[in-house]
Structures are given as structure tokens and as C-alpha cells.
């Protein structure tokens, strides 16, 4: 947490005269740290400079320069802008010291960088693949790695019907499907790796204490990937002693749809509908995060008109309500109140989706934001509908939900004191959104690092102090109320005027450089890291997914609780697999 004796930021170079230098490439910011000084640097950053929250870790493959770069974005949990630092290593032998010892939240992100980019993190306690399976050939996000359906480096592709004959990607692959194998591979002589080693690691703990008569055996239980309470295709491997969770390991990647690889081939505009499909309950917020990152690169060329700024806030806050009522509904599902609370939640969701459908043309995948504005203006009648919802119906319905659930004895008995995460742990694990705020850290990107026009609205950052499942539920309820407050102000002030600056263009050229755009999505801090090389397609496109990173703390939260509680702890984190696995 914040220390009073912090060193000012511009002293970083003075504090580290060797091994740290300013990143001087055009369009880039931050510091380049020598690999052997990284751990020392990060420790000082956390303890002396107050950057205690490591938001994002990712790698960039600079193929032409033969370099692999790891990019870190650190923040102060008291608010303010990012401190970016980077480590550059040779591509062929990419080894970087792990920061798990300094920031625990780096755990899954470093595993992801190892999985997809082949950067080895020395000292990482559990450096395994996380999104792909153990034994998969290659590191797919490397720029020289080609997939089975590879056609061309960049979109838009050439004609798919040259000479009038249409072809599909399957027709060109001898197997007729999306597979590629190493040369001379013989499946009949090949033995699987991975799964056995996985369970072996979990079995390692034996609590017998040498007493043969009292030898207790731990049981390994698999929850998922097909399980009604894992919110999609998520898997938890739990070692149990009796009913108590000794260790829990999340396994993901069952919905890994290669968002980043596809995104690096798309043009900038093409990526907007793909971001819809990240967190498919909150497509409008996802749009915003991505658009914000690209707008940062574009600079003044993409100035957002007043009306569009308001429309963005309105849509993002409606999305938050949709997401939170859904999260509360599924949490109650997980608690055993099967589908009835969900019906109440879905009723409100449908009404908001009607607005989205009228405005954007689609219920779920809105694809509404554009660089420098939004895609469409409000059709007639929608404004009145929104006013009716925000001023009349929603406040009433949220109170109703509150009345039915909050004081319910079963809800309280099951949720209070379960899955506790202390504020220190929450920050260390890089938890974000309601999970962080329920632990007593009032960190909301809308306040800590305001974007759009959030500085104009009067709202409170919802915060609770117990860090348990119940508080996470209450924070969501509070946030719905705050969203309604913001919506009421935004609808009152909504000005007339343009909705997009300049003429909408299909292909934009983005100046070379890097940008990190982040918004407070309903699940937490949603960040997009984009590296542009000045062409029509991003060179690197990375998503800092709050669902994914919040899961880093899942194991810690479940330790010592009952296995039945693991389900509701997962429900209280509120993950969406599209975003977790990307």
C-alpha cells in the first residue's frame, strides 16, 4: 500500500544509473531495463516508488530486429498513470527473469507469454503452457510461426475466387482441416505428454506425517471443462482433503480462439467486431478499450465529438448493468437457487438489449464504437425508452433484487467470510474490478486514471472491506446503482451534434508507436496494448483481460475452503471465458 517516503518518478534513472535507460524509439515511452537488473528494478519500483500494482505483462516479437521484448505496465494503487518498463532479449534465446516473486499477478501472464511467444521466465515456479496444451508444436504468436490455414501475412486478402473459382482454406490443406504437423511425425509411435505430469504435481503433497495408520490420501477432483457451474469451458483441478480444498489449479484455454494472432493480421477497423466477442456480456466496454488505445496512437486525428462521448458513457454504463445483473444471477445459480433469480436478472437484461439492438443493430455483438466517435446515432424513440428505464424501472428493479437477495439467510450463510482476499493480496495478485474493490481497495480506472468524460460525472467508487464473496456481490449491486446515477446525468446532459469526427474510413493508417488503452470494464481493468509499425495492421495486439488475471488469485481464495465453496468463489470472480482464453 501507499508509503509516505516515496521517491519521485523522475528519479528512476538517478536511482539506477546502470542497466536502466529511457526508451527513445519514436512513439514509445518508458524505460528499458537490462534483464539481469529486472528483479532489483521491479522491487525498487514496488517498495520505493509506490508502483505496487502490476497491471499487464506481455511480449512483443520484433522479428526484423531479432529481438523479443517483454513489456510491463505498473500502476500505483492510489491512482495515476502507468509506468512502462521493458526488457529486451535475443529472439532465439529469450530468457527473462520472472517477476512472480515481486508481483504475484505476473504468474499467469508470464505463463501466457511463454505459451504463445516462447519467452522463458527463469525462476517462475510453474512455467507450463496455459492456453494451448502441453505438447503443442511451436509458439503461435511468434511472427514466423504459420498456422494451417495461413493465407497471407496481412488482410485484406487477395481475391478468394481467382479466375472465378472459389476455394476454401480446407481445400488447400491435404488433411482437409485446420491441422499442421511436424515433418516425419508418426501418430502411432507418439506418446502423449502433459496430463499425467499435471496430476503428478498435484499428488505431491501427502499429509500423512509418517504415521502409517493415519495416512490420509488427497483426492484430486476435476471440475469442468463441461460443468454447469464453471460459466463456460473452464476447468479447475482441486486436491481435496476430505472436503477441504488443499490446492486448486485453474486450467484454461478451452475457448482459446486466437484473438491476438487474428488481430495482428486484421486491419485496425476489422478488430472492433472481434473485441465484441472477448467478453461477450459486455461488448460495448470492450469496444471502448480497443478504440481508446488506437485513438491514443492517432492523436488529434481522432478527436471524439461531445455527443459521441456521451453516447459512449451511456452504452458502457448500460453494459455494466447488464453484466452485473447477469453476474448476480449466475452467482445465485451457483448457490443453488437455480434459474429463478436468473429470470429476474435476464428480464432487465432483455430490456437493455432491446436498446442495444435498436442503436447498434445487434443484441450482443454491438460493434458500435469507431475511431473518433460511434457508428450510429440514436434512432427515434430510443432516448425516451432509455430515460424510462434509467429513471423509472431500473432503480425500482435493483431495489427489488436487493430486497430479495441481500438479507436472505442462505445467501449470507454461504457467502459471508468465504473466499477472502485481503487488500494486500488483491493488489499483489493484480486483481481488478469488483474483486479488488470488494477487498477494500477503492481503485476504479474511471476515477484513478479518468478516460472519456468520466471526470464530469458525480459518482462514488463502490468499495467494501471484507473481501469475501458476499462483499463482491454487494459491490456489484452498488455499482449498478452508481451506473444508474451516471446514466441519469449523462441522459440529462446529452448534447446534440456530430457523432463521429471526420469521414468514416475502412482503412486507417496509424502512426508507428505503442499505446496502452484501458477502461474500467464490468469485470475490471480491460487493457489493450497495441504496437503499430505505421502500416494498416497492428504489429502487436494484446488484450489485458481482467477475467484471466483475476483468476490468478482463485487458488489462493479457495485454499482451506470447502469444495462446494470453490464454485461460488469462482462465481463471485465473474469470469467470461471468451475473455479469459481469448
Amino acid at each position: 500500500m501507499a508509503d509516505t517516503t516515496l521517491i519521485a518518478e523522475n528519479d528512476i534513472l538517478a536511482r539506477f544509473p546502470e542497466g536502466v535507460s529511457q526508451d527513445e524509439r519514436k512513439g514509445y515511452q518508458g524505460y528499458i531495463v537490462a534483464a539481469d537488473r529486472l528483479v532489483e528494478f521491479a522491487t525498487a519500483l514496488r517498495d520505493e516508488f509506490g508502483y505496487d500494482y502490476l497491471s499487464s505483462v506481455t511480449g512483443v516479437d520484433y522479428l526484423p530486429e531479432g529481438k523479443m521484448e517483454v513489456v510491463y505496465h505498473a500502476y500505483k494503487s492510489t491512482g495515476g498513470g502507468a509506468l512502462v518498463f521493458k526488457v529486451q532479449v535475443p529472439r532465439e534465446d529469450a530468457v527473462v527473469p520472472s517477476l512472480v516473486g515481486v508481483y504475484k499477478g505476473a504468474d499467469f501472464q508470464e505463463r501466457e507469454a511463454w505459451d504463445l511467444l516462447g519467452i522463458r521466465f527463469e525462476g517462475h515456479p510453474n512455467l507450463k503452457r496455459i492456453l494451448m496444451w502441453e505438447g503443442f508444436a511451436g509458439h503461435p504468436l511468434r511472427k514466423d510461426w504459420k498456422e494451417a490455414y495461413f493465407e497471407e501475412e496481412k488482410k485484406p486478402f487477395d481475391s478468394r475466387w481467382p479466375g472465378g473459382d472459389v476455394y476454401r482454406a480446407e481445400d488447400k490443406n491435404p488433411f482437409g482441416k485446420n491441422v499442421v504437423y511436424p515433418e516425419k511425425f508418426d501418430p502411432e509411435k507418439w506418446t502423449p505428454v502433459g496430463e499425467e505430469g499435471f496430476y503428478g504435481g498435484l499428488r505431491g503433497f501427502d499429509a500423512g506425517d509418517g504415521d502409517e495408520d493415519l495416512k490420509t490420501e488427497q483426492v484430486v477432483v476435476n471440475l469442468g471443462p463441461q460443468h454447469p457451474s464453471t460459466h463456460g469451458v473452464f476447468r479447475m483441478v482441486v486436491s481435496l482433503e476430505g472436503e477441504t480444498v488443499v490446492r486448486l489449479e485453474p486450467v484454461m484455454g478451452y475457448l482459446h480462439r486466437n484473438h491476438e494472432k487474428i488481430g495482428e493480421r486484421n486491419t485496425y477497423l476489422m478488430n472492433i467486431p472481434f473485441t465484441d466477442r472477448l467478453d461477450y456480456l459486455a461488448s460495448m466496454s470492450n469496444n471502448w478499450g480497443y478504440v481508446q488505445a488506437v485513438e491514443k496512437l492517432l492523436g488529434d486525428k481522432a478527436k471524439v465529438p461531445e455527443r459521441a462521448e456521451y453516447l459512449r458513457v451511456i452504452m458502457a454504463e448500460f453494459t455494466r448493468i447488464v453484466n452485473h445483473v447477469f453476474a448476480i444471477g449466475t452467482l445465485l445459480n451457483d448457490l443453488g437457487a437455480f434459474f429463478t433469480p436468473m429470470l429476474y436478472a435476464l428480464e432487465e437484461r432483455e430490456l437493455i438489449l432491446d436498446i442495444f439492438e435498436a442503436v447498434a443493430g445487434s443484441r450482443m455483438m454491438c460493434n458500435y464504437f469507431r475511431f473518433g466517435g460511434v457508428a450510429r446515432d440514436l434512432p427515434p424513440g430510443v432516448y425516451e425508452k432509455m430515460r424510462d428505464l434509467v429513471f423509472e424501472r431500473l432503480p425500482r428493479k435493483i431495489d427489488e433484487l436487493d430486497r430479495y437477495l441481500t438479507e436472505n439467510e442462505i445467501v449470507r450463510a454461504r457467502c459471508e467470510g468465504v473466499g477472502v482476499l485481503t487488500p494486500e493480496e488483491a493488489i499483489a495478485y493484480s486483481a481488478a474490478g469488483p474483486v479488488l474493490r470488494a477487498s477494500g481497495v477503492p481503485y476504479d480506472v474511471r476515477r484513478a486514471d479518468p478516460y472519456g468524460i468520466y471526470d464530469r460525472f458525480d459518482f462514488d467508487v463502490a468499495v467494501r472491506y471484507h473481501g469475501d464473496v458476499y462483499d463482491r456481490y454487494l459491490v456489484r449491486l452498488d455499482e449498478i446503482r452508481q451506473s444508474i446515477r451516471i446514466l441519469q446525468q449523462a441522459l440529462d446532459d446529452l448534447p446534440e451534434g456530430e457523432i463521429i469526427s471526420g469521414k468514416p474510413k475502412y482503412s486507417i493508417r496509424v502512426p508507428a508507436g505503442e499505446a496502452y488503452g484501458r477502461v474500467e470494464g464490468p469485470k475490471g481493468e480491460l487493457g489493450f496494448y497495441i504496437v503499430s509499425d505505421g502500416s494498416a495492421n497492428p504489429w502487436r495486439y494484446h488484450v489485458r483481460a481482467p477475467s484471466f488475471i483475476n483468476l490468478t488469485a482463485l487458488g489462493k481464495m479457495c485454499e482451506g475452503d470447502k469444495v462446494a465453496d470453490a464454485i461460488i468463489i469462482l462465481g463471485s470472480i465473474d469470469i467470461v471465458l471468451g475473455e479469459t482464453d481469448r
Binding site: 496444451w133 505438447g135 503443442f136 508444436a137 503461435p140 498456422e147 494451417a148 490455414y149 495461413f150 493465407e151 482454406a169 480446407e170 490443406n173 491435404p174 488433411f175 482441416k177 485446420n178 491441422v179 499442421v180 504437423y181 511436424p182 516425419k184 511425425f185 508418426d186 501418430p187 502411432e188 507418439w190 502423449p192 502433459g194 471443462p225 463441461q226 460443468h227 454447469p228 463456460g232 469451458v233 484455454g253 478451452y254 475457448l255 482459446h256 480462439r257 486466437n258 494472432k261 487474428i262 467486431p273 472481434f274 466477442r277 461477450y280 456480456l281 434459474f339 436468473m342 429470470l343 435476464l346 428480464e347 437484461r349 432483455e350 443484441r363 450482443m364 455483438m365 471465458l577 471468451g578
Partner: protein, 212 residues
């Protein structure tokens, strides 16, 4: 009810109507099945959310006798493949399908399950569940609206109606073979490819050479 069940060409006396129906076994059997097709509670991706919305009060799946979603494949009749099928997930999906008792149906909901959809080019994406499972109804859309899903389910009911015990594949003399479960190797391996594997591998190597 008996009106609906009655086979054509049989005159039922007026006083017996609504009490007696003369019908075929097929018709009776299909009538029972079509109004109690239990879907498996199994969501993969975005489409699953629309599936949940369809089950909720506004669209109400139970009007079609389908409100009982079963998390266990052993109790389900219809597998709604609702979302992107990834290589990492497909072994589980095939296993779930094999565990379902016959008669069983598969609905590919949305663009991804039908053919890979927007993510088709991805290295971890199976371009359509029909590469592994026999699909009965494809529902287009990304995601399909609840109305589209309902229409797809109604199409499935129509299909059930037309089936005959004599010809459906699960009532033949020989046992239906289970679908071999794909293996996660260096890439996804389909055991059905084994006989021709080396030939195709050589072809792929040739192709790579030509392209270089």
C-alpha cells in the same frame, strides 16, 4: 391431441373423437419424442448466453418441451453446440456425444459451430463441429438470436417427426460405433486419419516446398 396423432384415412366415430386415435407406432413414438427433447446444459462461448436467454422467460424454451436442460450427457437428447469449438475442447465434446444415449441429435448453433465462423483461421479452432459429429440442424448467426434458435429447434422437431424406427441409424442390427476421440498431439490428431496419415503428411510437405 388425438386429432394430431390420428393417421389419415381412419374414420373415428364422432363420440369417440378426442379419446381414440388410430395411428402408427412411428407417429406415436415421434410425437412423444419431439415434445420432450431435452437439451444438454452445455455452453461453449457467446452463443451459450443467447441459449440461456432463450431458456428464460421472454422466449421460453419450455413451450417446446425443452426446458429441462441436463448437465449430464446420459440424460440428454439434444446436444446444442453453442459456440466456437476449439481443438483443446473437441476431445471432450466428442466424449460427451459418445456418452449420450440414442436417439441423439446435434445442433450446430452459430457460425463458429457450423464452420469456424470469424475465428476459422485460428490455430486452435476446429472449423465446424461437423468435422467430428453428425450435425442435424445448422443455425446461422453470430450469435443467432433467440428467435433463430427457436426456429432451429422447431426444424429439429420437424425432422424428428419424419423419422422412422425402421430406418434411423440407431435402431439397425449392428451397433453404432462410437466416434473416435481426437488426441491432442503436436496438433489435433483425428484417429480416423491414421490409415492415410503418412500419405497426407508427405503431400503437405510437398505443398510447403512448392510454396517456398
Amino acid at each position: 391431441m388425438s386429432e394430431e396423432l390420428n393417421a389419415k384415412g381412419y374414420e373415428i366415430p364422432p363420440e369417440m373423437r378426442n379419446m381414440v386415435a388410430v395411428t402408427t407406432l412411428d407417429k406415436l413414438y415421434n410425437w412423444g419424442r419431439r415434445y420432450s427433447a431435452w437439451p444438454m446444459m452445455f455452453g461453449l462461448a457467446c452463443c451459450a448466453i443467447e441459449m440461456i436467454a432463450t431458456a428464460a422467460s421472454r422466449f421460453d424454451l419450455s413451450r417446446f418441451g425443452m426446458e429441462i436442460m441436463r448437465p449430464s450427457p446420459r440424460q440428454a437428447d439434444v446436444m446444442l453446440v453453442s459456440g466456437t469449438v476449439t481443438k483443446k475442447m473437441v476431445p471432450q465434446i466428442v466424449r460427451l456425444y459418445n456418452q449420450m444415449p440414442e436417439p441423439k441429435y446435434v445442433i450446430a448453433m452459430g457460425a463458429c459451430a457450423s464452420g469456424g465462423g470469424p475465428f476459422k483461421e485460428g490455430y486452435n479452432v476446429v472449423s465446424g463441429i461437423d468435422k467430428f459429429l453428425p450435425v442435424d440442424v445448422y443455425i446461422p448467426g453470430c450469435p443467432p438470436t433467440p428467435q433463430a434458435l427457436l426456429y432451429g429447434l422447431m426444424k429439429l422437431q420437424e425432422m424428428m417427426e419424419k423419422q422412422s424406427i425402421k430406418t434411423v441409424r440407431w435402431y439397425q442390427k449392428e451397433d453404432l460405433p462410437a466416434i473416435p476421440v481426437p488426441i491432442l498431439g503436436p496438433d489435433l490428431i483425428d484417429p480416423r486419419d491414421f490409415p492415410e496419415f503418412q500419405v497426407k503428411l508427405a503431400q503437405a510437405a510437398d505443398q510447403a516446398q512448392v510454396e517456398e
